[in-house]
Symmetry: C2
Amino acid sequence: MITSHQNQLLKEIRKLNTGKRDGGRFVAEGEDLIAEAEAAGWKPIHLLRAEQEVSQDALDKVSSLGSGSRVLGVYEEKFAEPVGPLCVALWGVKDPGNVGTVIRSALAFGASSVALGPDTADPFSPKAVRASMGAIFRVPVSKVSNVSELPGKKIALIAAEGERLSGPVVEDTSIVVGPERFGIPRSTLADCDAVAHIPIQSESLNAAVAASVALYELTNRLQTA
Amino acid sequence: MITSHQNQLLKEIRKLNTGKRDGGRFVAEGEDLIAEAEAAGWKPIHLLRAEQEVSQDALDKVSSLGSGSRVLGVYEEKFAEPVGPLCVALWGVKDPGNVGTVIRSALAFGASSVALGPDTADPFSPKAVRASMGAIFRVPVSKVSNVSELPGKKIALIAAEGERLSGPVVEDTSIVVGPERFGIPRSTLADCDAVAHIPIQSESLNAAVAASVALYELTNRLQTA
């Protein structure tokens, strides 16, 4: 059982948990997330359970959840290809909580994949993994550098521009969601096939909320169509 | 100009900014939020601009945004009555970011008020104020202890229970959203008039996303009806 805080593996985990991911590994913490990973067929490279592989005290010290953490797994990240029929692409969304929340909503509304464009938060950071509530283990996540890599018709979601976003989708579609403040860069917009908006009475929505409402609109009506 | 970190006002602000709110005052930071407050008619009790009322160095030290903060205002909190036609009520939602995000979505989708039940995060905490993106200055926010205080028909939003939530609203309505993990307490449920759900393919949605999609469903179709 690991008890020393100087243990090499614990040092690596502390690094991963403070956002210093340089390789392909990431950490998931807590019994729920570990169970989700297992149910989805992800095998941990390391599994550290309190008072089994590691002392509670040593685990507490590297935990991103704080004192009393029970279990922690180290996994190898997996990126996939962006696939349809419905892909949600985040473009410049820097908040890892928002990225994780969108992955969670993608699973909830049955989107086929989540694509992450340039300057978008790391989906395998501790905060994103937590916000995904385990959906990170189920939804194909891809990295893309250009809108042209996305499947199907590319719709940019922009406040108060284009047509009202209206589902259900009838062809392969990618919905592109930008950061709240500056929106999708014009050069990226030029590569999209259409622009649409969610009608609102104020100026903006949280990026994860906007992406989730878009997914609801594009997929959910399908179920009652 | 305040330059000393020992200044009494700065000490009070540091307290407010670290979540130790005991009285009715709260802090909003950043030019956008301060502008939103002013546009909505909120007068700051104190307004501290860098290199005007306070040195940049001293402001940095109390800022919740970190170094380079330009302006900070101290305001008196205002609670209102829960009003219809559409009230969104959060019941036991403990994450202040979620509470702020719901207030922002309430403004976006034209809900009339946000009500906060027991064990719900402080809407005037720094994190909630920031997440609201200034909507806290525009949307009436109330504290309630019982569902019976809410206006109109009370619909509890619960995963996979009741009917599919379907808009637009045709009578005064309150939509009650609980925490993700444990849901709305059964005793609270008993006081609601109906139970409804958002159809999803996974187990759950982020609470702010669930409330926002509900507001979209209940209000947005109205605009095209």
